[in-house]
Symmetry: none
Subunit: 244 residues, 4 copies
DNA sequence: AATGAATGAGCGTTCATTCAT
DNA sequence: GATGAATGAACGCTCATTCAT
């Protein structure tokens, strides 16, 4: 019955610790910054022990990616299911995205590292499919909301512009912004104080640009976000150390 | 005065060759794909000779980065100096950005790869400053146009929104979009055909969202771009194999 | 008295299984091909259990060697006890040798592999003695027949030539031949078709060279062998898939 | 002109030293006994230096094999070209074989190790061909002498016995004998004193068995060998520390 | 008796860097 | 200025062995 002996628990905990350490290393030093040796010695265990948990370095990196990737998708799903008009739900997605990136600030570096370094060669096709599927789900969720907005007459896309194009715009902007924040340590020096506020604003402005009703001037989506974060993501919000 | 002996010239040329090779290697194999050995042997010189040009691997990478950033900065500057209303000049910046990423995909890709790895520890503060300065210039150029637009009453930013915030929006969107295009082979699979067209449109929509005059419906910026690319970047345009 | 509880029996059986697996591994991958890990997992037991049977890897290998040598010694003994003139009994030894190498090619191959690697340092003197004893018994058995032949006046060795020298000749020839067959895929390419027939013939020719009566021309030892294999090794013969 | 700078010479010498050490290690510890680490430290150089000479462990082992393999073939060729009747020339081959094995006592272990351990997988097809070709040449040389003997009516092979079968007998016997001597440290304990004398005698006896004229009793081939070794292999004979 | 997690020395290999020539 | 041999730390990884449970 009791399958979780103290030993098993300890092992589980160590696995978490390994990933924690690994994440720190990858984040601070990139792919090469992750050394099996260093993890082992910093954990106070032997090299071999690491290999009882992960059968190669790439597996660790992939585990790191999947760990957070799934969280984001789940957050997107929750936001999409919120009961309100499409633009608010879309705003909820924005809240989810920001919350996610602030809770897991390293995710984007991980994502890029995994994509840019030749890790894929050493992984199975299934893994690749898993990541891609997660991506497609996220895109699909947002595209669904866009289509809702269109169906309800809140937004009309010009000829030749697909809902995916709009999604692509939002995705690009957030992906790019978070990526810039994560990799460029000079954001504020470049005059971009409060980058998160800027992102929030810019995404709303983009929707305004598309003429999505109600416009930002008709409804205070910035205030709305404060409500959303508490309603949809109470736990995540609690984890957030800094103010929203 | 300028005594460029044949020998000096040969050395210069080799330096260029080194960087060319290095870029190819980084692009195809990431940071680890760059091997001093391979460069030397492909160049037909000895390992030691490389060290007469660059005192360590990181210096090479940094040189690559600077090279890349310089090209873009120069293109941005050209676009910014174009004689037209601010929004058109801003559109010119967009043209420059797209042209850059399409003409020099290796530069773009390399830039991303390099940012992920921690080369910074081994480099001097001055180098870091140099890169940062280049970045600031790019941001400054765009921010300058935004300020022009504001000064001429073409756009009014809400309270608390700095010109840099708008720049950040544009930068994020393009950076993110190009990054997605470059690394994710799933762009079209996700339903995003013609991603470059989408980017062009989305940036204009963002400006529309800010109420920047003239709006997209008042002036056909898509057609404008075709003019701009020919006028500002005739040579680059000629190099572009595919249609604009 | 002999209390073989089911448990004890199970343990015995497992020991056999371990050796079977181990032999397969050594044969297919050499000394390094033998992995305690693989044995354990293929057996469905844990690594530690293996150590209840053998205190180290070398012990397993030694056990394999002893097993192999015991089989051959037993076959030699049976041949030596056959009731006939010495040269026929010697021919029976040849039959035994060939049968052994053809029935248990893995045993033969393993024997050679094991001899090459230095397992001896990690083993006790007793073990070494055991193996050596087995070898001496085999030599002794054959030497005994030679002495019988001498005593019965069937063969006379020149001055300075011991019976062991003749044994050495037979042993060398068969050992060398089987070894060449087993490892060199070039036997037939070298023009040596039917190598086993050649060995049979050459050993008889050697005895002829020693003038051992009756000579090959006086008695058809090739036909004799067909009889011997059926009479002395009926079971082994039955196992032999190919024709004799 | 002077292409052998002192440095180059030193490098050459080290290569020799590496192979010497490697041979010792392989001989005493088999494939696993050869450690790149150990070579380096025992040579007083770094691990990396070894890799300037040989690009992997297997290359070293193969180099060891080829080193001696070629020597043997050359010795066989010299013996075969000796001007005398076939049986004497064949005896010369025997002298060559013995001389070779006594000068390079480890060759047979090497040969077996190379064949038994899975080294071939990591080597090129050409290497394999080279080794096989050398083998075939040796066989061919001996088979040629046998055919000479047949042509001159000195020996008549029974129906169904090819010259290669006789070669196979000689080859087996020497290969086996030397292999036993090399791998079994118990030869003398088994009652086989003077194994080399036994081999010499047994090969002659085998030829006698085939009825090859002149027989051993008609011509003292043992005395002949003493002449041959001095005439055909004066230098090798000088290197031989022990008495012939 | 059985487990299997932990060990840690060892492996072969790579490669940025140095420096005597 | 050019060479390239030498370096040696670091890498990812394996596996026989131990031992607390």
């Amino acid at each position: 019955m009791n399958t979780l002996t103290p030993k098993k628990i300890a092992i589980r905990e160590r696995e978490t610790r390994i990933l924690e350490l690994a994440r720190r290393m990858v984040v601070s030093g990139g792919y090469n910054g992750l050394g099996l040796d260093s993890i082992a010695s910093e954990l106070g265990v032997s090299r071999g022990t690491i290999y009882n948990h992960f059968k190669c370095k790439e597996e660790i990196i992939l585990a790191l990616l999947v760990e957070t990737m799934d969280i984001r998708r789940e957050m997107f799903q929750r936001a999409a299911m919120y009961q309100d008009i499409p633009r608010v739900r879309l705003t909820g997605i924005g809240v989810a995205a920001e919350l996610f990136v602030r809770l897991y600030p390293d995710h984007f570096r991980m994502e890029q590292i995994v994509r840019l370094d030749s890790i894929w060669d050493k992984t199975t096709e299934e893994r690749r499919a898993l990541v891609k599927s997660c991506q497609m789900q996220c895109v699909g969720i947002v595209a669904g909301i866009v289509r809702d907005g269109m169906a309800q007459g809140h937004v009309t896309l010009p000829d030749g512009v697909t809902p995916e194009a709009l999604v692509f715009g939002l995705w690009s902007m957030t992906e790019g912004a978070y990526s810039i924040i994560a990799t460029s340590d000079a954001v504020t020096e470049l005059g971009m104080s409060e980058p998160f506020l800027s992102i929030r604003h810019n995404t709303q402005v983009l929707l305004d640009g598309y003429g999505w009703k109600p416009l930002l001037e008709e409804r205070d989506f910035h205030a709305e976000m404060e409500v959303l974060v508490r309603k949809i993501f109470p736990e995540e919000f609690a984890q957030l150390k800094q103010v929203w």
